[in-house]
């Protein structure tokens, strides 16, 4: 776990209407990182830089020990990449695609590819243009996985899938990921599927990385505290409060640094703690983004 699969240090990339700003991100080998951001937050730009397809203006990027984009060929020998905006050749069959990718990867595992064909219920002789969107995603996953990558980079692979196909793809993805124990960089704006798969979470918003943490730590630290505060009672300073909703008598505090001691502290001051609610990853993401944006505009 000490080796880093991904190391980004002060990475910036400027476009006319967008700035990816000073991204610093380390991903240890064997981790599964969920990379969450709204549309246009900078997820795809970050991933393109990781793949060596876009050159950063400043900062350094290392993927599997290779500086990018200069050593992208060596790095890509060990990367499986599936992106929402990546298409296979419609006029060619899945079998042709498998042969084509195999010709580029000496470690291609045909037996594993055949297993995935059966598991994903695909037909190798079928042309890609005849496949459903869900089948195309599965075909792309197969082509990425059978090359035995040490790092799997998935850029919103489930976008555009219907709920059934999405569940199937996520289910298959979870099973193949647990099969292998490889490093996975999984980008999505669907927090539910990221929560299912990942052990680390990163939030990106408006080109800035606003959080990077272990998933369990993140979920443990964020709480919504519902209080009843009688007239004349002043609440103590509660660390990490990023939002206060509700009324003066019935406030609802959202904190990013919850400590159980806060409950007794409030009770000592005469307030009643009605509930301490866990937050979903989506709620944490939205609260985090909103508070950052408010800070930026303030």
């Amino acid at each position: 776990m000490n080796n880093l699969s991904i190391r980004m240090e002060g990475v910036s990339k400027r476009y006319p209407h967008f700035l990816l700003d000073n991204i610093c991100l380390d991903l240890p080998e064997g981790s599964i990182l969920g990379f969450i951001g709204a549309n246009g937050a900078g997820k795809s730009t970050t991933i393109r830089i990781l793949m060596g397809l876009v050159r950063q203006d400043t900062g350094s990027v290392e993927v599997l020990g290779h500086p990018m984009p200069t050593e992208q060929i060596a790095a890509k020998q060990d990367i499986g990449f599936v992106s929402e905006d990546m298409r296979l050749y419609g006029a060619a069959t899945l079998a042709w695609h498998m042969n084509f990718v195999r010709s580029m990867y000496p470690r291609w595992d045909q037996a594993y590819a055949d297993t995935l064909v059966r598991r994903f219920d695909l037909k190798p002789q079928q042309k890609v243009k005849g496949l459903s969107h869900g089948q195309r995603v599965k075909a792309a996953l197969l082509l990425a996985l059978a090359r035995q990558p040490r790092l799997l980079i998935l850029d919103e692979p489930t976008t555009g899938l219907d709920p059934v196909a999405r569940r199937e793809v996520i289910g298959e993805l979870m099973s193949v990921i647990t099969d292998e124990g490889r490093t996975v960089f999984f980008s999505s704006h669907n927090t539910l599927e990221v929560e299912q798969i990942s052990d680390r979470i990163a939030f990106i918003d408006r080109g800035r990385l606003i959080a990077l943490d272990e998933k369990e730590d993140l979920l443990d630290r964020w709480r919504r505290v519902r209080l009843v505060v009688p007239n004349g009672i002043r609440l103590p300073e509660i660390p990490g409060v990023i939002d206060v909703a509700g009324t003066e008598r019935l406030p609802v505090l959202t904190t990013s640094q919850f400590d159980p001691a806060v409950v007794s502290l409030c009770q000592d001051r005469g307030a009643t703690v009605e509930a301490v609610d866990s937050m979903t990853l989506e709620e944490i993401f939205v609260a985090n983004v909103q508070s950052r944006r408010e800070l930026q505009t303030a």
């Binding site: 393109r48 793949m51 397809l53 876009v54 050159r55 200069t70 050593e71 992208q72 060929i73 060596a74 890509k76 020998q77 990367i79 990449f81 992106s83 905006d85 990546m86 298409r87 296979l88 050749y89 419609g90 006029a91 060619a92 042709w96 084509f100 990718v101 010709s103 580029m104 990867y105 792309a140 990425a144």
Partner: protein
């Protein structure tokens, strides 16, 4: 800084483009062969018509192939798939240029040497040999220009503009060369006469092709975004 070109990867990429466009390539063969058969009849009118038909097939297929292999890769979003493989921009660029130029060069060489051979037959206008060679190389430049426009811009509009300029250019230059004193004087003679003017034009044309390709690699090396 740049890793050396992996020629095996370039070969795989070329074969991929040929396989995906096999019907376009194979479909042009009967037309080309038919036109070549008419050339071999030796009749003057048929010769001229079939040469025009052959040129249309060669340039047309070259332009179409360039459009399909370079622009469609981006338009149909297959570029991300190719560039996710262990492929560098140099290998990608080399493969695109070679895939297109090799397909062009096979019929082009046949046509060029076929036409020159016919012109050298007894009784033919041997003086047309320099002009024919110059125009044949002009066709090579035209196709190279279309290919590099496609590779560099990956844009249908710019490549179409390249095709338009090339078509216009070949006609204008054909007219100009036919009226340049050092070439026109000997065109209808019975002997092959390579004047210094004809040599200069031919050498300039031949240098233009590697220059175009060199500029392409330079521009590609300056690109920071490949998706």
């Amino acid at each position: 800084m740049n890793q050396p070109i992996n020629y095996a990867v370039v070969r795989h990429l070329i074969l991929k483009d040929w396989y995906l466009n096999r019907w376009l390539i194979l479909g042009s063969l009967p037309v080309g062969l038919g036109a070549l058969a008419i050339v071999l009849t030796g009749k003057q009118v048929a010769f001229m018509l079939s040469i025009i038909l052959l040129c249309m097939v060669i340039v047309g297929v070259g332009a179409q192939l360039a459009m399909v292999t370079t622009i469609n890769e981006r338009k149909e979003q297959t570029l991300a798939f190719v560039m996710s493989l262990p492929v560098s921009w140099r290998e990608y660029t080399a493969a695109k240029i070679l895939a297109n130029l090799i397909i062009f060069l096979v019929p082009w060489l046949l046509l060029t040497f076929g036409a020159l051979g016919v012109l050298l037959l007894p009784g033919a206008a041997h003086g047309l040999v320099p002009y024919t060679a110059i125009m044949a190389v002009e066709m090579l430049i035209t196709t190279s220009l279309i290919v590099v426009a496609g590779v560099i811009t990956e844009s249908q509009a710019w490549t179409t503009a390249g095709i338009f300029c090339s078509s216009l250019g070949i006609n204008i230059l054909g007219y100009v060369f036919a009226h340049v004193r050092g070439i026109s004087t000997y065109m209808w003679g019975t002997h092959v006469q390579w004047s210094s003017t004809a040599w200069e034009v031919l050498i300039c044309e031949l240098l233009t092709v590697p220059l175009l390709l060199g500029v392409t690699f330079y521009i590609q090396s300056r690109k920071t975004d490949f998706l």
